[in-house]
Amino acid sequence: MEYVIIAFLWLAILLYLVLGGADFGAGIIELFSTSTTRSRTRKAAYQAIGPIWEANHMWLIIAVVILFVGFPVIYSTMSTYLHIPLVVMLLGITARGTAFVFRNYDAVVDDMQRVYNRIFLYSSFITPLFLGIIAGSAVSGRINPDAHTFLSAYVFDWLNWFSVAIGLFTVALCGFLASVYLIGETNIDEDQRSFIRKAKIWNAIAVVCGALVFTAAHAEGIPLFKWILGNTVGLTSVIAASLSLVLMWFLISKRKTIVPRMLAGFQASMILLAISWVHFPDFLIMQNGEHLSLFKHQAPNATMNALAWALLIGSLFIIPALFYLYYSFQKDRFVEKGEGR
């Protein structure tokens, strides 16, 4: 049964990265837009994420619940040593979620909108940055349970070049996912071109940040090249991601929208696969060489069985409803387009 649970965990992380990432990315590209295109970006983004915002956010909760029910030692170790970045990420989630809703539901439209907006944009940047930092710290091998000073036990685990580089890369990835997603969310030619331009820029930034990650890994003595390219799965996923990137740009130049979106999501999943495969089943890599593995540190069997069934039965309800939600609001926009609005 543990394979079912691990699959769900991986899927929840992936979907949070892709769906939540596009969601964060919408804020990120708005933050870095020139003031002329800002309000347009905002409008397209709002229409796209309004109805599905809550649902995207749920993947994080699912991942956390799987961790604390199924892999309690991993959950408690992470929350002890990565306390500070987790708190910052929570602040980001809180500020962002509330600012997003407040700016749309304030009955009076006045200067407050500027405040909500500022908060929304900055937290859209901070949250994925720290999500990336947390993910980077899990595999960087800097978590040090034997440390005796505050700094080495609770700060340097995550405040190091490698983790920060992963954080920046995550931000770039979100910006990229969002711009590719938003190309299909508008039917005004000028806007579409502007999103295509943004997608190119964010693609370039992601490549730069990726290079940064490898440099930082080298500086910190983390054998990232070997990890990712030293096994067939890693190698294949890197090649598949690169090929699909070429295909995606070709299709975008033909003004296709749906398939490029899927390809962008595919690239994100290949990146996650390459990183998680080499460590599997380890989830947390510690400085003292002890690795917290999903197999060794799982809950007792009775719990794992119950959790697996809860997830399986739950998804019977959730998946159709979720598809219908995405479908309804997609269809809706196409109908509006058809009417020439």
């Binding site: 809550e54 408690s76 809950a299």
Partner: protein, 445 residues
């Protein structure tokens, strides 16, 4: 502030904040569904406007409820890693089921909030009902986790090891039913009185009377029924506490010395050093009656419980008195309201009834918070009753006090913004909905 106290305070603050939003998020969808249904049946557009106006408030509360809940699911680990390490696999079942309930709720909410005039009206209505049902289900499920902490079940604890784990038995622990029943009623009563009171205020001020009267009736109906049932459910809860946590019961009642014809102490100032209550009203035999249904059987007092296993008496006792006092007050208003609806219609037009409802705006939420203080402080020094002490569960990280200050600042600013937004929503009602009913039917939206 020491780290342990800071961690407890931060947990209490977060839960105390979340519970308000969670209750509103659970209950408001039902109010909206009733208003919405009446609109579909009668065509009176005031009902549609009520449902729509409420749904905007609910969207605001949902966002705050969702983020404060997310904070909580991390905080369990951030503040109590040792507790979660052992408890997670045992009491995790309700949380994993709750995940499904949240998800369905979030999906249905997307349909409901963004689906006005887009879908078949009955499908749209139905999505609103689904929001309510799944919200209620998640509330009931998460209470199972809390009741497990009060009444641990589904595992054996031998030599510091947690073995023989049965997640299902842990979920269906003895305290779940009384707590969930009482909690659900509390959600309806507190939200109902708060909402009814705000609309009563508008009626007294003669603003948009038709709109506010329809809204008032829906909320007051739910509130009155819940307030009537609440003391009954509270009695069930107290009997269950007496069985599983005699120390908590004794602290609630500030009952220091075990004796036959055990007295019920009303009010008073407990003196924990001298082990007596000053200025309290003692009614002999009543506590025995409430717990055992007879006047003589002796209830276990604090003197039979080792000092190191006793909860703080004063806080628990005050909180309990506040909850019960407000419960009686709300029950009284509920009775008056039902009498008005069935026998004395003209009371409904009178200002005094409206003023009572206005006075009761905060009552439910204060009682709700007080009730949780009884449950949680009364369980101390245990985090898992009789198994693990709270101080053994706290995170080793120093400096939690700063985190507590930070979260306090966040929760205060969030509350200020939410109140500000609601105030603006209510202020805008005239502009948005102040048209004659006939006009509205033709030109809504």
């Amino acid at each position: 502030m020491d780290d342990f106290l800071a961690a407890r305070s931060q947990m209490a603050l977060s839960l105390g904040f979340h519970i308000i939003y969670a209750c509103i998020g659970m209950v408001m969808p039902f109010f909206m569904a009733v208003a919405h249904y009446r609109w579909l049946k009668t065509g009176d557009a005031a009902y549609k406007n009520v449902a729509k106006a409420w749904s905007k408030g609910v969207a605001i509360f949902f966002a705050t409820g969702a983020v404060s809940g997310t904070i909580l699911s991390f905080e369990l680990g951030l503040l109590w890693p040792k507790f979660m390490e052992h408890a997670g696999p045992i009491f995790g079942m309700p949380f994993s089921l709750e995940g499904t309930a949240f998800f369905i709720e979030a999906i249905a909410l997307g349909f409901f909030l963004y689906g006005w005039d887009k879908f078949n009206p009955y499908f749209h209505w139905f999505t609103g009902v689904v929001v309510g049902i799944s919200g209620l289900a998640s509330g009931i499920l998460v209470v199972a986790a809390n009741s497990w902490m009060n009444s641990p079940a589904g595992f054996d604890y031998v030599n510091g090891q947690y073995t023989n784990i049965h997640p299902m038995k842990a979920m269906f622990n003895n305290a779940w039913f009384p707590e969930a029943l009482h909690m659900t009623l509390a959600a309806f009563a507190s939200t109902g009185f708060a909402v009814a009171g705000v609309h009563a205020l508008m009626i007294v001020r003669k603003r948009n009377i038709h709109f506010h009267t329809q809204a008032f009736k829906i909320a007051a109906g739910f509130a009155a029924v819940a307030a009537l049932l609440q003391p009954l459910a509270g009695d069930i809860a107290a009997k269950s506490v007496a069985k599983r946590q005699p120390a908590k019961l004794a602290a609630m009642e500030a009952y220091f010395h075990t004796q036959p014809y055990s007295p019920l102490v009303i009010g008073g100032i407990p003196d924990e050093k001298l082990k007596k209550v000053n200025y309290g009203l003692e009614i002999p035999g009543l506590l025995s009656f409430l717990v055992y249904d007879n006047f003589h059987e002796q209830v276990m007092g604090l003197d039979q419980i080792p000092e190191k296993d006793q909860p703080p008496v004063a806080v628990t006792h005050y909180a309990f008195q506040i909850m019960v006092g407000l419960g009686m007050f709300m029950m009284l208003i509920g009775v008056l309201y039902l009498v008005a609806v069935w026998f004395k219609k003209h009371w409904l037009e009178s200002n005094w009834l409206m003023k009572l409802f206005i006075a009761a705006i905060p009552a439910g939420f204060i009682a709700l918070e007080a009730g949780w203080v009884v449950t949680e402080v009364g369980r101390q020094p245990w985090i898992i009753q009789g198994v693990m002490r709270t101080k053994d569960a706290v995170t080793p990280m120093p400096g939690i006090a700063y985190s507590f200050y930070l979260f306090t600042a966040i929760y205060i600013s969030l509350s200020v913004v939410v109140i500000f937004l609601l105030y603006r929503q209510i202020r805008m009602v005239p502009q948005l909905y102040d048209k004659k009913p006939e006009q509205l039917t033709l030109s809504h939206n």
